[in-house]
Amino acid sequence: MAQRTAVIGVGQTYHRSKREDVSIAGLVREAAQRALEDAQMDWADIDAVVIGKAPDMFEGVVMPELYLAPALGAVGKPMIRVHTAGSVGGSTALVAAHLVASGTHERVLTVAFEKQSDSDAMWALSIPQPFSAPLLAGAGGYFAPIIRAYMRRSGAPDHIGIMVAVKDRKQALKNPYAHLHIEDISFEMVRDSIMLWDPVRYLETCPSSDGAAAMVLASEAVADRSSSGTPPAWIHGMAMRSEPTMFAGRDQVNPKAGQECAADVYRQAGITEPRREIDVAEVYVPFSWYEPMWLENLGFCAEGDGWKLTDAGATALDGGDIPWNCSGGVLSTNPIGASGMLRFLEAAMQVRGQAGEHQVETVRRSLGQAYGGGSQFFAMWVLGADKP
């Protein structure tokens, strides 16, 4: 039986398109130090460090964990690097959680980052691969046909994607850490933005951000003794799944790995009706259409009905019964390697009552989800205010 594990500290940077004032180490330390302060701990209190980021190509520093080990106080301690493309922030948090749940360590610091301004994500995601046709299209070109398939098979009207883009940007205005603060965001502004990857408009896509996220995960004994004054967020379930990128007959719109990952997490947490039993969710939505798609994949509704929830305002912080991405989500902040961890971290903040203006009232249970690669890596956790 796994040991009870909780989040007892969270920290993140103020995410921006360019953090030219800091080094990579400075960026990462900013988030880590805030997490330590939140947990009322110092570097010396930490037993192990687990770090994640997206491919090294984004900054051109190969294996940055080598130089970041002393920067994160990991000298003389175990340090692990996790690598699962866009889902890496989520997988990193889970590897850290496993170190506690297995009884190996009592206090684990987990950190994820990206400093996109050092290079160009469009380039880094379009480099020539051996024996493959060049895509030259970045992530959007990859996901656009999948979104078109969802729109046609579900019969979703065109305005759903625009609604999500507006909703998440409005919610970002309540999150001081969010990268995008578009004060005058409107339906018309999104609708009239250029069609970047037909059917995906410019404002229906995520930005490129510099940023980092960090959490302190602790054993039950440590969490019970914590004097920080902020309650712990207990892990009620956690899982990862993967599947191949391409094979004949693969359902890209509703990947099986995602469905099975969700089923596993819900089983651990004893959840049978996610829409009713989860109070708030932070889900990896880098293109607005992924909200209705993941509503279905994560079992919040029947297949084909995701867009109806969005259309009815069910996912809005303001008045919705299952607010999604109250922080503004990936659509408002995207330091790629950290984006998954931000979902996990925001889920913890909601349970701990730390989310400030974007806090949902009375959160007993929250969901954090990340996906990566060609929708092939999935990582999720369910957190609760009560011990599992």
Binding site: K115, I127, L135, A137, A149, M195
Partner: protein, 328 residues
Amino acid sequence: MTRFAESTITFPYKRSLGPVVGAFMTALTDKRILGIRNGKDILVPPMEWDPTTGAELAPDFVEVGPVGTVESWTWVPTPSVQHPLQHAFAFALIRLDGATTPLLHAVDGGSSERMVEGLRVAPRWRGTRVGRIDDIICFVMGEVPETDGGDTGAAQEPVQRMDYHASITYRNPVPAATDRAVVASRNRRLLGLRCPRCERVYAGGKGYCPVDAVELGPECEVDLPTVGTITNFAIVTPVSYPGQTETEPFVRAFVLLDGTDVVIGYSPVIELPADEVRVGQRVAAVWASPAEEHDQEGGMGGAWGSLLGWMPNGEPDIDDPDLVNRIF
């Protein structure tokens, strides 16, 4: 004999340095070398944190050197183009006078016989300095710093970012299945591989089934039709970045081959403007003429050999609501 295809990846990175390394680089443009105080130690190059505890260090900079002592070294007899010097040299750990930690840099030692621990060395500065570690070309023997060429002086503004032009060349072994697919494409044949376990057919020369993880050899080859239907597409409005060769919106289409379960993804289209591409459109393969010698090596980007892309063949569209789901 395994054949290799070469590919080079390059990118002009811009790295932000932060307040501590930024101060170090700014000082280099003024031919000064800075360390940072950490208790009794002077760390060179300066760090933002105590390397043992992770604690934040105050920006208490101390000028060191520029002359120092070699503590250890290794000889580089045949440098590559990416090495700091193009003739034989030593990489050395140099403890600059006043520092408590050594700096790793190149020493132009002439021959390995002259390299000894305890050797005194001084920097050879670049005439034009921009705030990079190679503003010091290398260290030379003796106590006297040198400057190479005319000295253009210190930077006018603090150095905050560093240009780093990365380039790496890979030699990729070409799978035999890829070679066979490319050779077949010269004869306008589209080769497929049928998995003996799951019966799925894969186009091109990947040479394995990703579902069953089995190798697909020549015995699995089948000829695929060269006519099909567009199931889905992306119209990409290109944004500018290094290596992007497209300037106008372009189409990448998914083509379901007739009578098969095979979709060829992200394919170029020919004589089909972006605003005319449709789901259900009928298309035929377009091949390079033998004279064009299109990517004869079957190397980077040449997965399909002489298959250039797909062009409307004039047949009426197919109306099937399930087509759009066929992305793979």
